[in-house]
Structure formats: structure tokens, C-alpha cells
Symmetry: C2
Subunit: 401 residues, 2 copies
């Protein structure tokens, strides 16, 4: 529809228009627009697509810092219920460009290091980790499950001689957790590699990969990071090169020195993780670190025990701003040891027979890990909720849009 100049103010907000006119330079700098030196003299305006007259939320409210008490802001459910409007804010436009960057730099680094991208099934015949927290699917006349992790398939690709693999795809967790950092469906950035002498080769690759991601985000998406910071204030993300690696024991010592009462082999609670992040930030000035050699007791049966002391294991977690964003380990690649460890952990050998059997035809020592894409984006930007970095989030209470 062609509009006369006098009717333009009647066009609904958020409509899409075509404009025919002339761009003219101006004598006086225009302060109220993002273009300071030119203005557009319209001759004709067409409405390509008209928005409904009443919008469920206003973009200017949705982009306002939550600390700005005097003016309206938009709560999270209203945002998510009207996600296509909410996503139009400059903040969200920036967040999802940064998230695309996380994936790009993850892949770029790994492909440069001879990793091969693979794709693995999400519908599986047996619940991967014992059956808890798994979604059930009707599969023709059978029952199937949604994969909680691509781990078995990454490992099979390694035993199938692919040497170094990564895969990006949905991960499903039927956990009834309504926290700031849990989703029932998220994007896993997973990698697995055979190593030559020691699993620390893998820690080094993953640590360097994170540095590659952080540096490229910082250098190539600076404007987007600043845009997000205007709505959601946070300290710039700090990291060291090479990455800081501490042992679990060192981490626990640091916590104990600061008043936390815990034993050497106790698992880290979420508050303890948070505190450890703050202590390490104070001491080493980094928001990213790696914790190596977790107690064997707190890790799954497929984790390789430390060959010199079975109290410990060849496993590691990685943290951003005191929250875990990667959990990984050297995996047991010997079927006999795997059966033994499963028995010790009380895992039913019948349920994991095919997993164990997949190591019977020659399997190289290997290690890997899985990263939550949304968590990396959230924590890099210092955001407070994972729903801000999942375009269409899924949690126990939200299945739409």
C-alpha cells in the first residue's frame, strides 16, 4: 500500500516499509539518530507488512537495562511468549551473533587441528546413562529414548579410526530442574580424540580451543559485546594464555584455606564451585580455568582411574565465572577394566553390553568432553539466565514457542 506523507504517522510500529527518497548531507550533526551526517528525504513510502496496532511488548522497553527502575522493562516470560518481538532488540541481535561465533570458532579451531565433524543419532534404543532423566519416544511399535549425550557415538567414531572428531547437536535432559542454568534441550559442542602418550594432550587442545574462542569473540565481535553490555552490565571476560590448570586437590586446598569444610574426595557443590571461581579470579585474574584429576568416586564408571593412585581419575572439568561448562575425561578403552569399573559402581552389565563390546576390536586411548553452547555464551557475556542465550528455550515448564 502506498502512503501519502501525511499518513506515515499512522503506520503501526514494527511494520516493514519500503522508502523511496534521497539521501542528503546535513550541515548540522544529527544527534538523535545513529546516522549523524545524512538524512533521508522520503518521496514515497510503501507498507510491505503491517504490524498489528497493539504490540504485546515494546522494543524500547525490552532493551532497557533492568536496573533502570523508573521506566518499564519486560519480564522474562512476556519476552519468551512473544519471542519474535523480543529477539528484535539490539541486545538479542548481538547475543545470537555472539553465539554463532562460539560455534564458528569451536569448529575453526578443531578443523585446523584435523578434527572431523560427525553427526550422531539422537533417537537411541537404550537409555545412555542408566535411564534416569531421559525422555521416552514412541518409535513405531517400540519404545526409544532421546540421547542425553553423544558420548558413546563419539567414542565409537574414535574406535572406528577417525582419530579426532567433533559433533554439534541437540542434547536432551529430562531433569525437572527450574534453575538459571538448566534446559531440557540444549546444544552440545562435543569433541573426542585419541592421544599418543598422555590425556593431558587432550586438556591442552581443549584449553587452547577455549582461548581461541574467547580471543576471537573479543576481537571480532567487540561491538556486539558492547551492545549486550549496555543492557546487561558485567565485567569483561578474562582468561589466561595458556589456560590455568589446577588439580582438584589444589582447588580443594584453596577452598579449605578460605573456610570451606570439605574432604579431599568430596564432590564440589554448586556454591563451592562459585566460590572457587571467585578465589581463582582474585588469585590468578582469570574467569576461565581447568580443574584436573577429580576423585574417582565422584565420576562415572567409564572414567579412567589414575594409573598410579586409584583414589584419583584422569578427568577434568572446565569453568567460566565459577560455573562448570565442560566435563570430560580419559575414557576406559579396555573392555575388562570397563566391566570391572561398572560392577564397582553398581551399573548393570546387561544394560551396557553393547557399550563394552564396542571396545573389543582394538580401541586407542582417548579422551574428550562436552560443552554446553548456551552456557558458554551466557557466561562469556556475564548473563544471569540461560534462557537469554537459547533462542527458543525448553525447560520443564516451557515448550513454546
Amino acid at each position: 500500500m502506498l502512503y501519502s506523507i501525511f499518513l506515515i504517522c499512522s503506520i503501526n510500529k514494527e511494520s516493514i516499509i519500503d522508502v523511496e527518497g534521497f539521501v542528503r548531507t546535513v550541515d548540522q550533526k544529527i544527534e538523535s539518530c545513529s546516522q549523524h551526517d545524512v538524512e533521508l528525504h522520503c518521496e514515497q513510502v510503501w507498507v510491505v507488512s503491517s504490524a498489528a496496532p497493539r504490540l504485546p511488548l515494546l522494543i524500547e522497553d525490552a532493551v532497557r537495562p533492568e536496573t533502570d527502575d523508573a521506566l518499564a522493562t519486560v519480564n522474562q516470560d512476556t519476552r519468551l511468549d512473544n519471542r519474535i518481538l523480543d529477539l528484535r532488540t539490539t541486545t538479542n541481535q548481538a547475543i545470537y551473533r555472539i553465539e554463532a561465533g562460539v560455534c564458528k570458532y569451536f569448529r575453526d579451531y578443531l578443523m585446523e587441528k584435523d578434527f572431523i565433524e560427525i553427526h550422531v543419532p539422537k533417537i537411541i534404543s537404550a537409555a545412555s546413562e542408566g535411564g534416569a532423566n531421559v525422555f521416552t519416544v514412541s518409535y513405531f511399535k517400540d519404545k526409544a529414548y532421546l540421547a542425553q549425550s553423544p558420548q558413546l557415538y563419539k567414542q565409537m567414531a574414535i574406535t572406528a579410526d577417525f582419530d579426532r572428531v567433533f559433533t554439534i547437536g541437540q542434547v536432551f535432559r529430562a531433569e525437572d530442574s527450574n534453575t538459571h542454568r538448566h534446559l531440557t534441550e540444549f546444544v552440545g559442542l562435543d569433541l573426542e580424540m585419541a592421544f599418543k602418550f598422555h590425556y593431558h594432550e587432550v586438556i591442552e587442545v581443549i584449553g587452547d580451543m577455549f582461548v581461541h574462542i574467547f580471543k576471537n569473540l573479543r576481537d571480532n565481535l567487540q561491538e556486539e559485546i558492547e551492545t549486550v553490555g549496555r543492557q546487561y552490565k558485567s565485567e569483561p571476560f578474562k582468561f589466561l594464555e595458556p589456560s590455568l590448570v589446577l588439580t582438584y586437590k589444589e582447588g580443594v586446598r584453596l577452598l579449605r584455606d578460605n573456610g570451606v569444610d570439605m574432604g579431599d574426595e568430596d564432590d564440589l557443590s554448586t556454591p563451592a564451585e562459585k566460590l572457587l571461581g571467585r578465589l581463582i579470579k582474585q588469585k590468578y585474574d582469570t574467569d576461565f580455568f581447568i580443574l584436573d584429576k577429580f576423585p574417582l568416586a565422584v565420576r562415572p564408571f567409564y572414567t579412567m582411574p589414575d594409573p598410579t593412585d586409584k583414589k584419583w581419575s584422569n578427568s577434568y572439568d572446565m569453568f567460566m565465572r565459577g560455573e562448570e561448562i565442560l566435563s570430560g575425561a580419559q575414557r576406559v578403552h579396555c573392555p575388562d577394566l570397563l566391566s570391572e569399573r561398572a560392577k564397582e559402581k553398581g551399573v548393570d552389565l546387561e544394560h551396557i553390553k553393547s557399550y563394552i563390546d564396542s571396545f573389543r576390536y582394538g580401541a586407542p586411548p582417548h579422551a574428550g568432553g562436552g560443552i554446553g553452547m548456551e552456557r558458554v555464551t551466557m557466561l562469556f557475556l556475564g548473563l544471569d539466565n540461560i534462557r537469554k542465550t537459547s533462542m527458543f528455550p525448553r525447560d520443564p515448564k516451557r515448550l513454546t514457542p
Copy 2:
């Protein structure tokens, strides 16, 4: 375990060994190995991981051309049941490197053209295309579905101002089809873009993208393509630059001229598609072509009708070796027309209310399409079964490994 030189022949095939020794040049070229000019003088051999003494299949059988009648080959189910051994063939090592290339060149081209990578949910609250052929998931106390296509979410990203998006992810189809080209779970390479003047801008981008993929596979993965060709013979894949675009009408005329009895607006049967592929190869010497302007009657309700003649639509399919690998269209972006088209097609408006509502706040004209990754790899290489290009395929009868 350290082995003496005399016991090496007792090491089981497919075991993984470490060798310590010296590389020495030789006077006479060695014909029986891939290294012709040097040989390895072992001093010590360790078995890192021992394979079971009996293998369910032999790699030399698994890599043999199926035309070689005199010697053993391995049938598909045995291969898939023992996938980690089967994947060790040079052929499979090559196939999955080529498939990784398909994804890489798809992304590279689109990112170069300012497309943004997005991730969209696979668990959805309503069956996307009316409820047929959809897998059901138990979602806590509710019922949910596995997405048959990311289309709605790509379109929402477009209406949310992202302008050009792509997404790579699992697509689920509960079709009980046991054919050479159907899987219940496959990887979709999907894209969607707003255009300025005409949906042919989108056809051009997608056509150029395929040329980019084909050229890079041909030039950068030549050795892998030859390796696959040694086991599975086929003609090299041919394509034109720019891509050949024919109208549906022209396609039907070509078929009619060659004895096929069909009306202007009849849908193409699979055999007709195959024949059309052969006729176009003869006439234009290309294995890739685009068929534009399908009859409106054979396309879904969300397809934009041709504005000049409602018999036709702004929609297209793309073909490789006579098989469809992309289906796409300009989408209806106006909620009133969308409701009208749904009614004409007998679609229940209640079920698609949220789909229609997503266009109520300003939506630019846009078009896109979805590509089956495994099909592209299969047809580029001239393979006869999609199970050869899915690392761990899923069909109505196979859920393992």
C-alpha cells in the same frame, strides 16, 4: 604388553600397536605397500589394545567392490551391526570426510553471504505439519513431538529481523518407508532469507551455494572421491555454473516429449523425477538442476501463490542425479492470506494459530529451503543407499548401534 619379534604374528588383526624402530631407505622400490621408498625395522612392539581373535567382518572384504563376484563381500546389515569395524575401511573414512566437507562448504558459503547460524528446538508442543509421520515424546506429564522440520523456527528468526539464517540439525520423520533414500532421522541443512524484490534472489543464492559445495568437494577432496570410486563405481558428478533453472512447465514438456503421459499440474512421481534427471543430463550435461514454479495444488498451504496466476506457486525443488535434495519456496508472510490458503487446503486453523500469529507484527517477504545432508553426499558420490552416508543410520527397522 611388550612382544618379542617372533610373537608378532600372533597379534590379532585390528589390534592397536606401538612400534619402536628405525625407518630405512631401500634400494629397490617396495610394490606391496603404500610407502614405496622406506621400510620400518622394528626393534620392539607393544600391543596398546588387543582385538578379539575372531572379527565379525574382515576389513579387506568390507572394502571390496560388490561387482567382484569371486571374493567375499559384506552385506549391509552385517556392516551396520558391526559399524565400528565397517567404518575403518578406506571407503568409509573417505565418505565421512566428504560429508564433513558438505557441511563445511554449506556454512562457509552462507556465512560469507551474511547468513547467521541459529539453533532451534527439536522437541515441540504441536506437530508441525498436521500430525502425520511425527514421533511422540513423553514430556514430564505432557505429550510433545519431535520436529519434522525447523521451518517455523527459521521463519520466526526471519520475522525477528535476523534477515538471513541457516541451521544444521536433526530432522525426524516417523514414516514407515524402507527405501534406499529414507531415514527416520537425518541431518537437515536448512536456510531461510528475506529478499528485496523477488524470490528468485533466493534461488540464485541457493544455486550458487550448491556450485560452491560441488566445486570445493571436487577440488579439495579429490583423493577421497577417488577412494570411494574404487569400491563404488560411478560417473563423476557434473554441474553447470550458474546452475540450470527450468520451470516446472518446461520439465513436464520434456517428459511429455519423451512419452510420459501427465498433465501440466500433476505432481512428479519418483520414476518421472528419475527420468527427468536422465533427460536433462542428456540435453544439458548436468547432474544438478533447479525446477521452479511448481503447481500450487501440489505444495503445502504456506507456499506463496504466483501473484499473476494462482495455478502456479513461487516454489522450487532442486535435484541431484534425478533425485530431489531440496524443497523450498517463498512462504506466505501475510496472516490473512495464510489463513485463506490453510482453509482452501483443509488445514485446521486452530492447530496452526501460533504459526499464523507469528506473522502479525511485521514480516518481510522471505523464502528458503531444506536439504538432506546424507542425500547430498550419497548423490554426489553416486552411491545407491543412504545408509552408506549416515554414520549410524536410523530407519523403521534399525535403532542400533
